[in-house]
Structures are given as C-alpha cells and as structure tokens.
Amino acid sequence: MLADRLPVLSSLLRERRRSLVLWAIALAAINATYVAFWPAMGAGEEMQALVENMPEGLVQALGYDAIGTPTGYLESTVFGLLAPALLLVFAIGAGARLLAGEEEDGTLELELAHPIARRRVVAERLGTLVVTVVALVAVTTAVVLALVAAVDMDVAASAIVATAAGLLLLVLGFGLVAFGLGALTGRHGVALGVAGGLAVLAYVTDALAALVDWGRWLEAFSPFSWYLGPDPLTTGWHAGSLAALAAISVVAALVALVAFDRRDVGV
C-alpha cells in the first residue's frame, strides 16, 4: 500500500486533497474561459484595433504583437500569463510551506523524532510538491487541449504539450527553489519572499528583454525567457531550454537534500 511505503507523502496528499481539488477547478475554469473567448476576442477586429492603439513598447512587453494569431493569443493569455502566475503562486507557496513552514510552526518536529531518516522526510515532502504541481499542470493542459480543439484554434496539440512541459519545469523550478531555501534556512518567510521575488524578477527581465536592443543577452538570465523564448507554441520541442529549466529543479532538490540533513531543526 502507498501509505505504508510512502507514509509522509500519502499523509500530506490526504491532508491537502481538498485544497488541491479547489486549485484544479480554479485553474481549469480561468484558463478555459480565456481559450473560449478566442473566437470573440483574438480573432475579432476589436482586439486588433485595441492593440493598434496601445503604445508599441507596451505591446511588445506584454507580447501582444501577435495576439491576433492563435498561437500569439494562447501565449499572451494562458501560457504567458495566467497559468504561470497562478501555478507559481501555488508552487512557491507549497514549496515554502512543505518544509520551512511546517518546521516553523513546529509540526515537523514530531515527524523527525520518528524512525525515518531526514533525507527521506525531505524526499517525500519534495515528492509531494512534484506530484501536486504535475497534477495541476496536467489538468490545465488537458483543459486547454480540449478547448483549443472545441473552438477550432489552429495550434498543434504537440506544440501545446511541448509548451506545457516548459511550463511544468518553470513552475516546478521556482517551487523547488522555495523548498530548497526553506531547507537551507528553515525560515518560511525567506523561502516565500526570495523565491517569489526571483519569479517576479524573471518575468520582468523577460518582458524587458523584448523592449531593449541588448534583449537577447538579458534573456539568458530569465527562466521565463527559456520557457517561451523559443516560441514552443509554434515551433514545438526545444530540448536545450527544457534542460536548462530542469536544471533549476535538480539543483534546488539537491541543495534541499544535502542542507536539511546537516543543520539544526526548529531553532
């Protein structure tokens, strides 16, 4: 039974299933709404007129220059804004809480006093983060795929899946950065604040890169640019950028496993 083999993970999932279901419903509803508006908004003439009246810099920063195309619309609404924003809130919040949050409020102490190795506790809690983020990205992706087909948008399903893979790795990366910072410091606020700040910084850097001449150079520093820079909704899979995104998760996870094992808990 799962509960016997992974007692920490299964207990956490049971405890969080209600909030997870609510998140899934919210993500599905919001992203579905935007895709469903494509025939009226993106493909309509009013949207084009609106974009033409906006300052050019703003249009570029928001990535609205291609909002009249199916891929441009999907990127500007779902994959470039709503899905990453909501999922990052979830992942960073969960990443900070799963270790540092529960350490700070004292609930972790009893678990660690039990016959379970610290690395195992870290691994199962990290696993909980991965499982929940994968589930929410999967729900979002499935809803987008279904609605894209329903409103007859001209975007390849494989390209959507490729973009979703990047989205997953981006969100997981920041969630694990929060988790790793929590493992390192034991401070919920630090984990939440620093990881959240880094995510905002990455977004702003990416938006800025679209505006300035030396933008190409800036993009190298923003995981947001690694995610949408190669335009996966049009061009599909890009192993290099996915690997770069995955590296964030791998490094953060290793830091968490090593750091938490070495320090005092609950100080």
Binding site: D4, P7, R14, E15, G106, T107, L110, A113, P115, D264
Partner: protein, 313 residues
C-alpha cells in the same frame, strides 16, 4: 551493545548564534530508572532533549543515547525511543486517529494496535479533527504516540503540562508501568512536584549546566527545616549568627527564624541560654530547595554544591 547507562552527555555545549544554551552539560541516566530533569524555563532542558533526538547538533561535547551517537544512530536508534515534545504542535484537518495511524506507519506499524486502548484510557476521541482539539486533548495525542510502541526509552519534555490532575495521575501510572516492563524514563519539568512521586533520581539544570544530581531522598534531606523560636524577651543575633548548620537567620523582636541543614544540637544549646516560650520546626518543600538553586549566582552555587555533597557523605 548493552550498557547500564542509557543516556550520557559529556561536556555538552550548544550555542544558538551568540547565546549559549548548554554550557558543558554532564548527564547520566541509568537503565530502568525514572530520571527527573528539573530546571526553570530557559535553563536548557528542551535543548538537551532535542540534541538527544538529533533535532539539534551539539556545538561541542558528546551525547550518547542507548550507547550510540544520536546522529550516527539515526532512524534505527529513534525506533527505540518514544518522544513527547515540550511544545507539541499538531495541526490539520485529519482526525486524531488518522494522525496516530500515520505516526505508527512511520514506525513500520509498531504501536498501531495500542492506539485505541490508550486513547480510551485517557478519554481521547479519535474521531475528532486535530485542529479542533484543546491543548489538553492534543497533549493526550502526544502521550499516546510516545507510549504506543512500548519503547525501551521514553524522553518526555514537560509531559504533564495541559493535563488535568486526574489525567496527570493516570499519566504517572503509565510511566510506572513503562518502568515495570523495563523501560527507562527521562522526563523534564520546571516543577519538582510533578516528578518527585515517580522519579528515583533528579537532576537540576541551571543556565545550561547540571548543578546537582541526587536521589529524591537525599534532596529532601538537603532541603532542611525552617525553625522558628520565640523568646520571652528580645535576644541579640551574635549568639546565633555563627552557629553551624544555620542559615538565613532573621530576628524580629522576640522571634528568631532560620533555615537548618543537619543537626539542631548547637542551635538548641544556644537557645537554651534564653527563656524559650515557643518553637516550631517545619520540613521544607523540595520546591524551595530549587528556588535556592535558581536564586544563587553560578559561582556561589559551585561551592554550595560541594558543601551539599560533603554534607551527604
């Protein structure tokens, strides 16, 4: 590894940044005994306990639990321990029963069968969600999880806090049963009265150091007697101030009060030179002894402790 010492710390030091929580703590708990670990809040009791459970790593010195270093012993060592945290934090939607089942799973199922009988004994409703439980009920959950797998060592940090008097007695009964089956019990408290009925030996910690370790009977002897003598007319302090075994002398009009450690002979002979109209000798509560320890600055305490152990021999 068989050893008669279940917990041993040697010159244990723990710093939090610049604050020294433990300043060279030496501790020895023997197999099969109930050891009371007494000290005021902030003396280092919980820090010591959390080092024993490998939640904290010592700055210097050594700690040994069941013959092993807590860190090296790891999960296998913790399987042999039952721990009740001093500040038990329990949260969540799940029921008390489901939390206890999860904790049993962390022990590979050990103790799952005893959850229900222990809960019944303490009147804990296993169907209620954790977050709705009162402090006392959470403490019951803590007691159940610490005892359910019948560990050979119980480490209990302020175990009776939050329990009403009736349950405190039930709890002490549980501690005695654990000892009867051969377990060792290490329990902390900031008041002696909570442990003196069950503990054979007591250690007193103050500012991160053990200031005294003794059996409860010897401590009672050290606590001494409060003497009150009333004379027919006022007497001068000179004749009494320098007497052996007499401390805290005070004279108000015709009434003399003092604390007596040891034989009353010299005091009685000095008093007999005057007309004594009333007298009383009252055994002090052990609690007062601890207040003595807490009041005295550490330097004086060292000499006082030496004196006390000299008395004992």
């Amino acid at each position: 590894m068989t050893t008669d010492v279940v917990i041993r710390t040697h010159a244990l030091v723990k710093d939090y940044g610049r604050t020294r929580a433990l300043a060279g703590l030496d501790l020895e708990v023997r197999r099969g005994e109930i050891f009371g670990f007494i000290g005021p809040n902030g003396a280092g009791k919980s820090t010591t306990i959390r080092v024993l459970l490998d939640l904290l790593r010592p700055t210097a010195g050594r700690a040994e639990v069941l013959g092993q270093d807590p860190r090296a012993g790891g999960a296998a060592l913790r399987a042999r321990i039952g721990y009740l945290p001093g500040e038990l934090a329990l949260k969540g939607r799940q029921t008390a029963g489901s939390l206890l089942q999860t904790l049993a799973r962390l022990r590979g199922g050990a103790g799952a069968k005893r959850i229900r009988p222990l809960a019944e004994r303490f009147g804990l409703d296993l169907e209620r969600p954790i977050r709705g439980l009162s402090k006392g009920n959470k403490q019951k959950v803590g007691v159940v999880q610490a005892f359910m797998h019948e560990p050979e060592l119980l480490i209990l940090d302020e175990p009776t806090s939050g329990l009403d008097p009736l349950l405190q007695r039930e709890f002490l009964e549980l501690v005695l049963e654990a000892r009867a089956r051969g377990a060792t019990v290490f329990m902390s408290s900031h008041v002696l009265s909570e442990v003196e009925d069950v503990a054979a030996r007591v250690g007193i910690i103050r500012q991160g150091q053990m200031v005294d370790v003794d059996d409860v009977a010897t401590l009672r002897h050290h606590a001494g007697q409060l003497i009150t003598l009333t004379f027919a007319e006022p007497v001068g302090p000179e004749a009494f101030a320098a007497l052996p075994a007499v401390e805290n002398l005070s004279l108000e009009g015709c009434t003399l009060r003092c604390l007596l450690h040891g034989e009353p002979d010299a005091l009685l002979k000095a008093a007999a030179r005057h007309h004594v109209v009333a007298w009383s000798a009252e055994n002090r509560e052990l609690e007062d002894l601890f207040l003595d320890y807490y009041r005295v600055p550490p330097e004086e305490l060292d000499s006082a402790a030496e004196e006390a152990s000299a008395h004992a021999r």
